[in-house]
Subunit: 197 residues, 2 copies
Amino acid sequence: MTATTDTPRRLQIEAVASELFRERGYAATSVRDIAQALNLQGGSLYAHMASKEDVLWSIVIRAADRFNNEVGPIAADSARTPADRLRDMIRAHVGVVTATQKDAAVFLHEWRFLSADRRAEMSARRDAYEALFRSVISQGIDAGEFRAVDPRLTSMAILSALNGIPTWYSPTGDLTPTQIADQHADLFLHALQTHGG
Amino acid sequence: MTATTDTPRRLQIEAVASELFRERGYAATSVRDIAQALNLQGGSLYAHMASKEDVLWSIVIRAADRFNNEVGPIAADSARTPADRLRDMIRAHVGVVTATQKDAAVFLHEWRFLSADRRAEMSARRDAYEALFRSVISQGIDAGEFRAVDPRLTSMAILSALNGIPTWYSPTGDLTPTQIADQHADLFLHALQTHGG
C-alpha cells in the first residue's frame, strides 16, 4: 500500500514526527521512535507512509505552501506601494512562523536531510520565495521609497531575522505574535525607508 | 588515555568533524565517518578524543570564544557612543561568521545535540552574549540615539540576521566579508537611529 496524504492518521503521524524531528533532529529520529510516540508497531506505520523521508517531505512542502499562500498574494498586489507590501509580507511571514512554530522549525533546519532531488526542488522554491522579497525591495528602491540597499543581502537579512523567531518565541511569553510581527515590520521598514523615522 | 586539546592531530580531527557535522548533521555523523575522512581506524581516534560529543563541544566552545573575544571588548568600551559600538559589534560578529563559516554553522545548528549539562552551559553563554547587544541597544535608547524599540526582540533580530549569513555567504561570491559586514551594520543602524537616514 502506498502512502496517502491528508488522512487523519497521516496528519497525526506528521504532527508527532515534526515534534520529534524538531527535538532530536531528523537524522537522530527513527521510524520506530515515531511509532512508539503513537503507541504503534513500527511496521504498521508503513501503511501510512512510504519512508521517514516521505514524512519530512510532507512537513516541508506543507510549510513552504503556507508561507507562499500567505505572502505571495501580498507581494503581487501592485496596486499597493512596495513599502506597504513589504510591511504586510513581514507580518504574514511572522504569522506563519508563530502559528506553526514546530513545523516552521523543521522546515527551516531539517530540509537539508532530504534526498538530492527533493533538496534541489525545495532550494528552487526557497529561492523563488526569497525573490518575492527581493523584488518588492527593488521596486521600493526604484520608486524612491527605499534607500539603495542590496536587495539580495537585505532580503536574506530580513528572512533570517524572521526565521530566527522559532528559536526564541514562546506562546506564553511577553510578546504576542502580532506584536512580534509589527515590531519586525517596523524595524525593517525604518531600515529601508528614505525619509527619517 | 584521555583526550588532549590543541595538538595538531586534534585540531585536524576537529576540522574534519566540523565539515562532516555541517554537511550531514552531528547525529548522522559517526566516529567511524570521522576516522575514514582522516584515513584512520575508528579505534585510534580515541587516543585523541573521549567521544564524538567531546569534539562537538570543542568546536562549539572555540566558536563561542571567538565571538566573545571579538565583540566583548567593543561592547564594554564605554568611551564610545552606543551607536558606534553597535556598528562595530555587528561588523565584528560578521567577521567571525565569514572567517570561520563552517565552525560557525556547526556552533549555531548542532549545539542542541550536546548533553544536557553542556547545553545548559552553552545556553547561558549564548544568553550572556546576546545581553551584550541588548545592553548597548538599551544604552542607545537611554542616550536618545536609538528609537524606543524592544531591546530583546531587536537583539534577537540582529543576531538571527547575522547568523543566517553562513547559509548564503560564499567566499567566491560577489560580496566581500567587509561589504557584508558594513551593509548589515548600516541596515540595523538605520533601523534604530532616531535621526532620518
